[in-house]
Symmetry: C2
Subunit: 415 residues, 2 copies
């Protein structure tokens, strides 16, 4: 079924906020055999009108996000009703839910909020457990002779849309879509290997399989390889990709590198500490995004100032003076100091020059050292060079550090 | 000039990666008086063909991102040449740049990479300093009688596109766009106040000004208010908004909360330490994203395990036993311990239950305490409740902690 997503929001087109709905919805509907074939972003107000008029004749399912809020720039509900010549009627259930929500949180009820209780006649209402605007479903051709697709109007904030999508939209789609998708899909995530090298390794052999769709996506420190096709073709491609890329693949089920690392640590009942200088907390933030991380993550030491490297991690001040705070020696001392302090199996450290200032001819911006201290073995260290903007530098360094730990963990498992 | 952005990439439509180009480009072109009026995402391959055919007659400027890489799914350059009936010719400068890049980094040159040196005849080339695929500019109506808009083909990875956009695309646009935009724009960022309350405070009065466009955007812990209009109207609206919202506005120039906090600390020559439990490094990560943060940020202690709260921050184990690790008492002790250890002016702490597990009837998931210790004054603490998913919980908590510090800093300035 031809499926299209329309995001409304002048804030998106002005760049004040980034869309998260496309990625979320795409992943949710894929298992039902549905793919977003096109996505559009339109401004608040009249923009949605011309997009709907343009897409109604050729779409079978349309998702619209945003424009259901209490403020005057929220008009999705009104324009939809107008296009389909449906009356807006006040919905008792929605009004009650809004009043209860406000009472529970002690928020003052404002007149404008009641606009959100108006729905196009005949629409099915999805109550919003995380906000006030309800979601709305209008079945295909709801008001003949007007031709219209299945239409889902959903709230803009991701934390309102996402639970609603899983609880209400997915069951509705399941009832209308073919239940057995004819295609299968796999994604392989590879750290620290360039896109063209990955293609050189697998491209020709995978594309020789009839009916396989092969795609690549590069992001800082990572290449994702995607295959789509009928289940038999995907199975054949899977064998080829695994045999050629082997342990370079850190995930084949959409897990992030931090999820993989936490899972490996949990399985092995081992623990981790972090000593971060140039990554400034990004490593810890990524690890603690994983539910259950507290079982393996003990402590992180963000030793930005040299004094705190000495104070918290017992890094020798003479070492720092001789080699500089950004050096292999200091990276090793940081990792070992963190492991001792937190009494963990492993400790990862990072020290480098994120820029834009702070570089020198011998150690230009982008220079970085990472180290991994491990119980019962020698500390490993790596020098890397990531000359890029500050945030990319932090991401590339965090990625390299996590992959160093992952490779050590899987090598250990194989012993 | 009617400006449209097309993002190519099956990975975007499958949800494997999130677009960052719309936000970036929109912000870059606004000062030139240009706004993206519509954005579309299309799959790799033929998708770009029908979007270009559809938009050529009605757009004046089209940006296309992605599909210029070395792999077989990258066909933007070929399809553009085909539509405009232009030959693809090998460009010497591009080829030399690619060879040099590979030599410098010691990467093996693969045959496929040379595809990237082919450009439609007559196109202007923007060399790529951060990758191999060059950017391309095809002037409007480049091959009469075919009607075509100004066409910019740009590489997909943000760290390649962004510097190229600033260095090459902006000067080109400046030469073609009207240089004095007739409208001005302001954005006000407000922490810890709901969208409908913000509108109730300012909506009616601002909208009474003729010719003003008013928009709101809510995200975790923040509401952004946006006004656009002619400079005089914007000036009048600005006065109203500032007088009604006052210090609730943390930024009116697109700065993030962490940028504002770092700037205030730098101005006051004061320093900061962090003691994070439930935010797990997010606060430190945000602070260290700000260039120059090292002047004010000394250390962060991510004390996930109770042992490390005691070890690093000297939190009394009896206190933790009596009140629990998630308590106001422990939040205060953490902040004070961090400030003592790092010898800073301020220390912020967070302790809470991020979930999904770990909640209890008295302290359900979402319970959180933050505290701020400051030299020469009493430690401040707040209890908050953010029942949401793990990442939103971390964001809301970090936002509340940073805003607590900001309010203390501006109050101090006023003394």
């Amino acid at each position: 079924m031809k499926t299209i997503l329309i995001n409304t929001g002048t804030e998106l087109l002005l760049g004040d906020v980034q869309d998260a709905h496309l990625a979320f919805i795409a992943k949710e509907i894929f298992p039902l055999g549905l793919r977003i074939e096109e996505q559009r972003t339109v401004p608040d107000g009249r923009g949605i009108r011309s997009a709907l008029t343009d897409l109604f004749p050729r779409a079978e399912i349309v998702f619209v996000t945003g424009g259901l809020g209490p403020t005057t720039d929220d008009v999705t509900r009104e324009i939809t009703a107008e296009l389909l010549r449906l009356k807006l009627v006040s919905d008792e259930r929605v009004m009650t839910a809004i009043l209860q929500r406000f009472a529970k949180r002690g928020i003052k009820f404002t007149e404008r909020v009641s606009r959100q209780a108006y729905v196009p006649e005949g629409a099915e209402v999805f109550l919003n457990e995380n906000g006030t605007a309800p979601g709305l479903y209008l079945r295909a051709n709801i008001n003949p002779p007007f031709h219209s697709p299945h239409l889902f109007l959903l709230p803009g904030p991701p934390r309102e849309l996402q639970p609603m999508f899983r609880e209400s939209v997915i069951p509705k789609l399941r009832s209308m879509a073919s239940t057995s998708p004819l295609f299968d899909r796999r994604m392989y995530r590879i750290a620290k290997m360039g896109e063209s090298l990955v293609e050189q390794a697998i491209g020709e052999k995978v594309l020789a399989i009839p009916g396989i769709e092969l795609g690549y996506c590069a992001r800082p420190g990572e290449v994702d390889v995607r295959i789509i096709g009928d289940p038999a073709a995907v199975e054949r491609a899977d064998t080829i990709i695994r045999s050629l890329l082997g342990p370079a693949i850190f995930s084949s089920n959409d897990e992030t590198l931090e999820e993989v690392v936490v899972k490996l640590l949990v399985e092995r009942k081992e623990t981790l500490a972090l000593a971060e200088s140039c990554t400034g907390g990004l490593l810890a933030d990524r690890i603690t995004d994983v539910p259950g991380a507290s079982a393996v993550f003990v402590a992180g030491y963000i030793v930005y100032a040299n004094e705190s490297k000495m104070d918290v991690l017992q890094v020798d001040s003479a070492l720092m003076e001789r080699h500089g705070a950004v050096s292999e020696t200091v990276a090793r001392a940081m990792a070992e100091g963190a492991r001792m302090r937190a009494k963990t199996t492993y400790a990862l450290s990072t020290t480098g020059i994120a820029g834009p200032s702070g570089g020198s001819p011998e150690k230009p911006v982008g220079t970085v050292f990472i180290a991994l201290a491990a119980a019962g073995s020698k500390t490993t260290a790596r020098q890397l060079f990531f000359p890029s903007d500050r945030e990319t530098f932090k991401q590339l360094t965090a990625q390299a550090a996590l992959d160093l730990l992952r490779k050590t963990l899987i090598k250990g498992s194989g012993d």
